[in-house]
Point group: D3
Chain length 79, copies 6
């Protein structure tokens, strides 16, 4: 009964979370030959002020966008 934790930027809507946990659960259950009911998924959301790469806070690097769009419009790099 695996426990999967997803650390990600804060603020995605519940519809996105609903879809994410379903997809991860199915993927893990299939890959590990487990029943989906045995899989737990925890989402841990981080404020961009609490996540840093290369010594820089993501709030400074990327602002508040998500995914590819957030990154492409930011002056920093990926997110």
């Amino acid at each position: 009964m695996p426990i999967v934790t997803v650390k990600m930027a804060k603020g995605r809507p519940v519809e996105k979370k609903r879809s994410l946990v379903k997809a991860i659960t199915n993927t893990v259950a299939k890959e590990l030959d487990l029943k989906p009911e045995w899989v737990t998924v925890l989402i841990e959301e981080y404020d961009q002020k609490n996540w840093a790469t290369g010594g820089k806070l993501h709030s400074d690097k990327f602002g508040s966008g998500f995914g590819k769009k957030g990154v492409l419009k930011s002056p920093g790099a990926r997110k």
Copy 2:
């Protein structure tokens, strides 16, 4: 000096937390033959939208109740 982390649903009152950390500390200290002062307990609260089992968010399965009562009145299962 063990560090105990309790991941649980968000929202229990401080009185409950106070009692919980005291009880866990005493249990761990006794079991491991340690002084209670050496035990750290961290409570990590999760929104029901950030916890899923069987691919379903607990906010969808259980709503916002706690413990046995929350589960018994929910249309889903345990919580």
Copy 3:
């Protein structure tokens, strides 16, 4: 750049891990609209003696099997 952690029973072969991290990465990248290169996956393996549900060690409940087969042949329950 999400960080996904999978806590699971110890001992699966590297072929299974290789397949697992690829599948999770693709699932998360698609769901969150991110490039796969931005996704990190960490596998944390637990000895069955270090994982308990219902107050019983999995080494006592399930022995050393994995997935559905491990559980079905065990005298305990799921794993």
Copy 4:
């Protein structure tokens, strides 16, 4: 269905772990008004070379003892 993680020094025997997870599960179930079956306990064991307080590795401070006895006979302090 809380998930309790216990980070502690590596090497305690399975009898001690069996007793520990049972006691923690009962404590948490009682405190949070949950069924014991809903509680998961994970034990995470750390080598003394991977745990430091005050900037000093516990392998340097305490050697390899456990609990009060380990500490009392060590030249360092508590463990």
Copy 5:
């Protein structure tokens, strides 16, 4: 590409976080012979009601202060 997590009391200002992640990143990169760009730092903030030592919540022991000043003026001990 190490991932460093800092669990600490909630509420420090972003200027302090900015300085903290930069300093940790430089320290880790230097110590481990890595480029700073490869280091990730995550800050996990805990409410004083969710952190306990010796079986007592820090909100009861220390109130809401930070660092040495917070402790020195508190009736409890360190924080």
Copy 6:
């Protein structure tokens, strides 16, 4: 009393760990205005088979090297 966790590749020698925890402790204590004795550092070592970026295990990408040297001689990318 912050708790700092460093997730990194497995296998560095104890001399390196000793130096790492001392440096991190001093950095954190200075940045957060805390006494070094209040800082805990945990090192969590991952086998290269249990760490993936971009959907590829680091054992496949980088082999078993550390730091810049390990990466520079690998056919993959950074590590």
